[in-house]
């Protein structure tokens, strides 16, 4: 638990853990709840997680369960899960039965579930909007909040839009021809940003941007500009491995990256703030859990390749991630047809078989 969370809770506020960026953070923040994105950064062990999840499941999710079973997430006051993928969606039951019901764990952690559609349609949006409205009522009821008012929602939207704007600014400082920071540094900033209150994060991000603007450009001579795409990356070891192999991660399509900050909430006249929040989340740049949206993801990737002057695409998936695995397969063929060099690789969440990965990355970079 970081000191920001400690201070947040000292002031009597609650923290709600979540897995996926499809949950409405703005709504939680408006209810004075701190949305905390569950990560397994630094955990190299899945020993306890393996008891409850078979080896065909995602090692990232298993690593988070492992940490939860060790008590590392005991600071959570609430837990919100959505059906993003088959691995993380089942954490609802496992946390319910095995983490929050552990012997000697007496705290009451409120549980919430959000059911997302798998396609982007008008009916799907109506469903999703209703789910978020119901979630609002449930939050008010379970946390004894009189009302999450429109004023508070609008204020929260403002803070989150500002946060995304600042993250985009930092992102631009690395996509430019003479970048100010590495891909690993960008990832670190994004991860830290997901674990602290956004009003405080915004102040820090502004300071970081000031420092970066004054900083010397980083030296990327002899490095190949690549874009990193695919499964969740919340581990510096992996990005460092890539950047130490002769690449510069000039951009990404990741949920700790562009997917999370590309779109803003657009407060439309005649639309409630909650509807605007739902609209942004539902129609934003999707992850492959959205079944019929591959073309839009490809278009974004192609635009980002142009914008960040990308020389090669590194597609990666954590083993057993069907969603990114198949999306990456389609990308591989589509990008090859456009003569864009592509590396498609699988990995475990924790840094295993480093030599194999490094060899593949180096060979790919030599080919560009």
């Amino acid at each position: 638990m970081n000191s920001y969370i400690e201070n947040w809770q000292k002031n009597g506020n609650k923290v709600v853990g979540y897995y996926c960026t499809y949950i409405p953070e703005e709504l939680l923040f408006a209810a004075d709840l701190l949305p905390f994105r569950i990560r397994a950064t630094g955990n190299k062990d899945t020993e306890l997680g393996d008891i409850y999840m078979v080896r065909f499941t995602c090692s990232f999710v298993r690593a988070t369960l492992d940490m939860a079973l060790k008590g590392i997430y005991d600071f959570l006051d609430g837990f919100l899960v959505c059906n993003s993928c088959d691995h993380s969606r089942r954490m609802f039951e496992l946390f319910d039965l095995k983490v929050f019901n552990r012997e000697n764990f007496k705290k009451n952690v409120e549980r919430f579930y959000l059911a997302l559609p798998h396609v982007i349609t008008n009916e799907g949006f109506e469903w999703y909007k209703k789910e978020i409205e119901e979630l609002k009522e449930e939050l008010e009821h379970k946390f004894n909040i009189k009302e999450i008012s429109e004023t508070k929602l609008k204020h929260s939207i403002q803070i989150y839009n500002e946060n995304r704007r600042l993250l985009r600014q930092i992102h631009n400082l690395r996509t430019q021809a003479n970048p100010k920071l590495t891909g690993t540094e960008v990832l670190q900033i994004n991860m830290a940003n997901s674990s602290i209150p956004k009003d405080i994060a915004n102040e820090h991000l502004k300071m970081i941007i000031e420092i970066l603007n004054e900083r010397e450009n980083i030296d990327i001579t002899n490095k190949k500009r690549i874009i990193l795409v695919g499964s969740v990356v919340d581990n510096n070891d992996f990005t460092e491995l890539i950047e130490n192999s002769g690449a510069f991660i000039a951009s990404d399509v990741l949920c700790f990256g562009t997917r999370n900050f590309t779109d803003d909430v657009d407060l439309k006249i005649g639309e409630s703030p909650l509807e605007s929040i739902s609209r942004r989340l539902y129609y934003r740049l999707s992850c492959p859990r959205m079944m019929d949206d591959h073309q839009r993801r490809l278009d974004f990737l192609k635009e980002e390749i142009k914008r960040a002057k990308i020389e090669g695409v590194v597609l990666q998936r954590i083993n057993n991630c069907d969603l990114h695995g198949c999306d990456n397969m389609l990308f591989t063929h589509e990008l090859k047809d456009l003569d864009i060099p592509v590396l498609n690789m699988d990995r475990e969440f924790y840094q295993a078989d480093t030599n194999r990965l490094q060899t593949r990355i180096e060979a790919f970079l030599e080919m560009i």
């Binding site: 080896r55 088959d86 089942r90 954490m91 609802f92 496992l94 059911a115 798998h118 859990r289 999306d327």
Partner: protein
């Protein structure tokens, strides 16, 4: 290929097995051959070929004049009956970049389309029951350029989910009709649904008799019944298969006969059986005296669909059926109910053990085995064997390995 696999196996069964041997296989293959012949003729007449997901009940396509092809059923049917199975096509997809950990039931047919064995006029699929569907079906649309109709199935068994899915089903069927240039014929749909309503009643009657000792079904009945339903739902052949099977089961029930020599142990397979080798089922019956009372594809949780009222109510019933289908039901709710009805099954059917086959593709079930094992031990006092495998590919866990694991497990029970 499907017809060849069926006909050759049928010939073998008829010529090698004794007349009364494995009636489910004998009758099932006859029905399957009849339906395949009919559809092959229809395809030659130029009717549109529609691929469908196994969780889209085949009888729903009866409102069109089309040739329905079950994507998942095709891969596994060939894995079962064709020499070498569907492995060639799995490997083609792997070479193409498809991950090794996705579902072989889809991968096989995908590989066949790479090899241009199929050209679909359209496909229709729910967004269920697991990530492999979400991940794999876009291949048909984006790579093969086949029109794909998606029916969004919501997570959680709630009233609003049933209504949402009913609307999705109706819209999906209309959309499919537009693609293949046909208006849905709802009278034909009603007829097909009424056939399946009767099949459901027959299955429930058979299921009731499985509670008795010894089990009056052969282990193979589970696979054949599920396969037939997947391919031939809504046809008279599916109805007559279950009618004939009911007669066989009633006779065995009355005479307390077991398909093998003697029933020594009763097992429930809450997930799948092996499709790469269904002769494992015969081996269990005959060599170990282990009855497989049922697997996931054989327990049902839906009511007959009301076809006598208005269309909206019928679609609501279709929605209820779809969301209660095997594997779909368990994937659209939390584990609590799944564990609860497993416990009830164990008690109602006097099971001695559970054998849980965790398929590499089914990540949505990857977190339940240990929870189920603990619950069965605590509530019923029976053990559960967990075997990790690929239901359609023997190369992951071989038949030999399967047998050894089960032998060792049953030794601890006797």
């Amino acid at each position: 290929m499907l017809l060849d696999a069926t006909s050759v196996t049928k010939e073998l069964v008829e010529h090698i097995l004794p007349e009364q041997g494995v009636p489910s296989l004998r009758i099932g293959l006859q029905k399957m051959e009849s339906v395949l012949n009919y559809y092959i003729n229809k395809a030659e007449e130029g009717l549109p070929v529609v691929g469908y997901h196994f969780s889209f009940p085949a009888e729903f396509l009866k409102c069109f004049d089309c040739v329905p092809v079950c994507i998942e059923g095709t891969s596994y049917f060939l894995a079962t009956f064709l020499e070498g199975g569907s492995e060639k096509y799995y490997d083609m997809m792997h070479s193409y970049g498809h991950p090794f950990h996705t579902c072989t039931s889809q991968k096989g047919t995908m590989g066949m389309t790479l090899d241009d064995l199929f050209k679909f006029d359209s496909l229709i699929s729910p967004t269920a029951p697991f990530d492999c569907t979400i991940a794999s079906y876009p291949f048909f649309k984006f790579e093969k350029k086949f029109p794909l109709v998606l029916i969004d199935m919501p997570f959680l068994q709630k009233e609003k989910s049933l209504q949402y899915y009913a609307d999705q089903l109706k819209a999906g069927i209309i959309k499919l009709g537009k693609i293949i240039g046909q208006e849905p014929d709802y009278n034909k749909l009603k007829e097909a649904i009424e056939i399946e309503n009767q099949v459901l009643m027959l299955k429930l009657e058979i299921f009731e008799m499985i509670k008795s000792k010894p089990s009056p079904i052969s282990n193979l009945y589970n696979a054949i019944s599920a396969g037939l339903t997947m391919f031939t739902a809504g046809t008279p052949e599916n109805l007559s298969f279950h009618q004939e099977m009911l007669k066989v089961v009633k006779k065995r029930y009355k005479n307390k006969e077991h398909h093998g020599k003697e029933e020594k142990l009763r097992s429930i397979w809450p997930y799948m059986i092996t499709f790469f080798s269904i002769d494992l089922m015969e081996w269990l019956d005959w060599e170990l005296g282990l009855s497989v009372l049922f697997d996931i594809f054989n327990y049902n949780f839906y009511d007959p669909i009301n076809t006598k009222s208005d269309l909206d109510l019928m679609f609501y019933g279709m929605s209820k059926k779809s969301m209660g289908l095997p594997m779909v039901r368990q994937s659209t709710e939390f584990f609590g109910p799944f564990i609860e009805y497993c416990i009830n099954f164990a008690k109602d059917y006097s099971a001695d053990c559970f054998i849980y086959t965790q398929s590499i593709a089914c990540k949505q079930f990857g977190s339940v085995p240990q929870l189920l094992r603990e619950a069965l031990k605590e509530e019923v006092g029976i053990p559960m064997l967990l075997i990790e495998f690929d239901a359609g590919d023997a190369r992951m866990t071989s038949l030999k390995s399967f047998k050894e694991k089960i032998i060792m497990f049953t030794q601890t029970l006797s």
